[in-house]
């Protein structure tokens, strides 16, 4: 079989972005958490905050480094593999990506150096401000890149030239396109939740290990309090996000629901086996009327089925269908963990309940799974379009590429990422294992970079 450059480019894109998204999913939340810890340390002078912040900064440094290198790969993908897409959409999308660089990446990168290496070189307030700047940078980054992605989902505010290229007509409509507010809220909340579960799990691990000091308990309590608010909120936002998708991308919604035939009232398909060729859901387990209730908020609302679109305009059902169920399943499981935690906390047994601490550890990576599942739902559900309803994926790929070219590059990305990411995860786990008490500073070797600057910050709490 000859290699298909289109298919391979799609796989390559999915591979590099899926790894990349895992890091923002962690660093966006962690940057804010570190800024909070730095702020508490600055305001109260309590060394516990400083030690917690230092511990997390060491882990943050690794994940941020991986986020940067996997991120630099991304904008070049548009040129290498999606040149037609770039030519067609650049007039609309490129300024937003440039703004991401100018507003977010420079901010993060400049203040990151001070955050990681500068504790003794700048006064404490400047170190705190650097932590805030890094956190703000990650949020700006999410803002702009999600605006880009949302425009591809629900394009607005543009006109098309004779040659089919997209031109800007109204920037407000472009940036704040219909799905953007929901996607931004849902994704950033997802990032905070993901980080929250990591902090909860690591805190539980340290408690179980009987780590001295109050920090592990502080971490668990902070994470639980945050999650108690965010997990239910995320379900609410997710519901609104889905309603918005129903309005603007009805074919994607049909795929998420696994609905081939239009129905009113529509049942909710809990699980089944989608068969795109025959356009039926096999072995479906359904709850009558629940689909209408969830998606139209009425007893007999209509949900359109995929058969209303020609076959070459339907997304494949399996990925959105299962991706969505994984995400929502995890959301409910998370809610259960949070409620159990709150109950134990009230009874004062949070830190003594062995099974619960272990459960928290098991849940630490689940946010990442939910994020990936959600994105796969979103992106595969948009197919066969790159710009929904306007530009097809097969018209987006670079025409000069052969199948062999892309097979080679995909293999290279495959090998390098499979070396780099596991190594990075190993480094992070190593730093978690090292615990809090051993390191008063995140990174030893680069301390005291310079000989002439006066040391203004007080020395860290002596061990």
């Amino acid at each position: 079989m000859a290699f298909d450059p289109l298919l391979l480019s799609r796989i390559q894109w999915a591979w590099v972005i899926s790894w990349h998204i895992l890091l923002p999913a962690f660093t966006v939340g962690l940057a804010s958490y570190i800024a909070l810890l730095e702020g508490l340390s600055f305001a109260t002078g309590n060394p516990a905050w400083l030690r917690a912040s230092t511990f997390w900064t060491g882990i943050f440094a690794v994940s941020f480094g991986m986020g940067v290198v996997s991120g630099i790969v991304m904008p070049f993908q548009f040129g290498t593999n999606w040149a037609r897409f770039s030519d067609a959409t650049a007039n609309v999308l490129s300024p937003m990506m440039a703004y991401e660089d100018l507003m977010a990446f420079f901010l993060e990168a400049s203040f990151l150096g001070v955050l990681l290496f500068g504790r003794h070189l700048v006064p404490p307030w400047a170190h705190f401000v650097s932590a805030i700047m890094v956190a703000i940078g990650t949020l700006f980054s999410s803002f702009w890149i999600l605006s880009v992605n949302s425009w591809m989902q629900t394009p607005a505010g543009f006109s098309r030239g004779e040659d089919g290229r997209f031109f800007p007509a109204d920037w407000l409509q472009i940036v704040f396109n219909p799905s953007f507010p929901f996607r931004l809220a849902h994704t950033v909340t997802a990032f905070y939740i993901t980080t929250g579960f990591v902090v909860l799990g690591v805190g539980a691990y340290l408690v179980r290990r009987a780590e001295p000091g109050s920090e592990p308990r502080l971490m668990m309590r902070m994470a639980l309090a945050l999650l108690a608010v965010l997990v239910p909120l995320q379900m609410l936002i997710g519901d609104m996000h889905g309603l918005n998708t129903r309005e603007h991308q009805p074919a994607k919604l049909a795929a998420i629901e696994g609905r081939y035939d239009t129905a009113a009232p529509a049942p909710l398909t809990l699980i089944g086996w989608p068969d795109d060729a025959a356009a039926i859901m096999r072995y479906a387990i359904e709850v009558p009327r629940l689909g209408s209730l969830v998606l139209t908020h009425s007893w007999d609302g209509e949900i359109r089925g995929l058969k209303e679109w020609p076959a070459d305009q339907r997304p494949p059902v399996a990925f959105p269908f299962f991706g969505f169920r994984v995400m929502v399943g995890i959301a409910f499981a998370m809610l259960a963990v949070v409620i159990a935690g709150l109950v134990l906390w009230r009874r004062g047994r949070l830190f003594e309940t062995g099974w619960y601490l272990r459960l928290c550890q098991w849940f630490a990576p689940l946010g990442f799974v939910a994020v990936l599942a959600g994105w796969i739902t979103t992106e595969v559900g948009r197919q066969p379009w790159t710009v929904y309803g306007h530009l097809r994926t097969e018209h987006s790929v670079s025409p000069s590429l052969t199948g062999a070219d892309v097979a080679l590059s995909l293999a290279a990305y495959g090998i390098v990422y499979l070396i780099m990411f596991p190594a990075g995860i190993a480094v992070m786990i190593g730093r978690i294992r090292a615990g809090l008490s051993l390191r008063a500073e995140p990174r030893d070797p680069v301390e005291g970079l310079q000989s002439r600057a006066p040391v203004k910050a007080p020395p860290p709490a002596a061990e």
Binding site: V62, G65, V69, S70, V73, F76, F78, G79, T80, N81, A83, R84, S86, D87, A90, N91, V92, S94, P95, M97, A98, D101, L102, M103, F105, F106, E108, A109, S110, L112, G113, V114, L116, F117, G118, L121, F167, P168, W171, S398, S400, L401, D405, S409, A412, Y413, V416, M420, A426, V427, G430, R443, D444, E447, G448, L449, Q450, S451, R452, A453
Partner: protein, 339 residues
């Protein structure tokens, strides 16, 4: 030349901004890639110090690469859509090399063997990323096959003797910048070593500049006409003359003449002059001999929307990134590493 009917043409401003962004990238990541290249030749006990000298700033430096790439997409989308697929493999090599190089700063394994492996990844990554950029430069100067709005060649067109030459030239050039940086940031025997490496690189760079300066006009009559026709030759003569003077000054600075910042600054001037030389040869093409800057430009609305923010943001960026360099000013020291 401005597209009909518009009040104001933003393109000249954008050409300056983008030109500066690419130049800044070359200077800033140039010296930290150069430090990575020299890492392989450094005395073993000083190697960690080399890495420490750039650890807090490399990320900021690479941010200019993103600005260069995304800026090209924003201002000259057609050029982006033609050039980037044409250099598919050099870009791939550069990105993967930057991966290894970037994570090496953070991957500090307990096991010394694994740790050493990643450190070599840092060095090799720096070498390969530079080589790849040099190939891109060479391929760019030679031009691409274009049909309609697409690149029409193969994914291996970039592999030419000329591009190999520019690849080696850039290796020497970045290493020269790196040596200049190390003279500035180190003292004692390490500084002496950096000066020696700098002198070797400088000789290589001068040879490379000479080869490329002869090769391009011989290979391309349009370039020859640009430089050697009257009156251009009079206007452009300062470029080679200044290059020779800058080279002389760099040589003396590497031998200890003037302040420690000297070698770094003179090397930067050499880069600036070479950069101007290439721009003069190719103007007004953004895809050489195929697409001019006007043909490749994005719409006025796109340029205007991005310009408003950029004019505000660039000075702000200049302020805070200078501050972060300022925080880490002075010599790097090894003895205070572990406390």
């Amino acid at each position: 030349m401005a597209p009909g009917g518009v009040l104001f043409d933003f393109l000249p401003i954008w050409i300056v901004i983008l030109g500066l962004a690419v130049f800044f990238y070359v200077l800033l990541d140039g010296f930290d890639l150069g430090v990575g290249i020299l890492y392989g030749f450094a005395p073993a006990e000083d190697r960690p110090l080399l890495m420490n000298s750039i650890a807090p700033i490399w990320d900021g430096n690479e941010t200019w690469l993103i600005l260069g790439g995304v800026g090209l997409l924003a201002v000259f989308p057609l050029a982006y859509a033609i050039i980037i697929p044409a250099v598919y493999f050099p870009i791939l090599l550069m990105l993967l090399a930057l991966v290894f190089r970037g994570v090496a700063f953070e991957f500090q394994f307990k096991n010394p063997a694994i740790r050493r492996l990643w450190r070599w990844g840092f060095c090799l990554g720096s070498v390969l990323a530079t080589l790849a950029q040099g190939f891109v430069l060479g391929a760019f100067v030679q031009g691409f096959r274009v049909k309609g709005r697409d690149f029409a060649g193969t994914s291996f067109d970039w592999l030419t003797p000329f591009a190999a030459t520019t690849g080696v030239a850039l290796l020497l050039g970045y290493a020269l910048l790196g040596a200049g940086w190390l003279v500035l940031k180190t003292e004692g025997h390490l500084q002496d070593w950096a000066r020696r490496m700098g002198r070797i690189c400088l000789l290589g760079v001068l040879a490379a500049i000479a080869v490329v300066s002869l090769w391009t006009p011989l290979a391309d009559p349009a370039v020859a006409a640009r430089w050697f026709s009257w009156p251009n030759v009079a206007f452009l003569a300062p470029v080679p003359v200044l290059t020779a003077l800058a080279a002389l000054a760099a040589w003396r600075a590497l031998n200890g003449w003037g302040p420690d910042a000297g070698p770094f600054l003179w090397a930067m001037l050499l880069f600036l002059l070479s950069y101007l030389g290439i721009a003069i040869s190719l103007w007004p093409y953004i895809v050489p001999r195929q697409v001019t800057v006007w043909e490749a430009a994005s719409s006025q609305g796109t340029q205007a929307f991005l310009l408003i923010g950029t004019l505000f943001l660039l000075p702000v960026i200049a302020v805070y990134s200078s501050w972060s360099y300022w925080v880490f000013r002075g010599k790097v020291r090894g003895d205070v590493g572990y406390h």
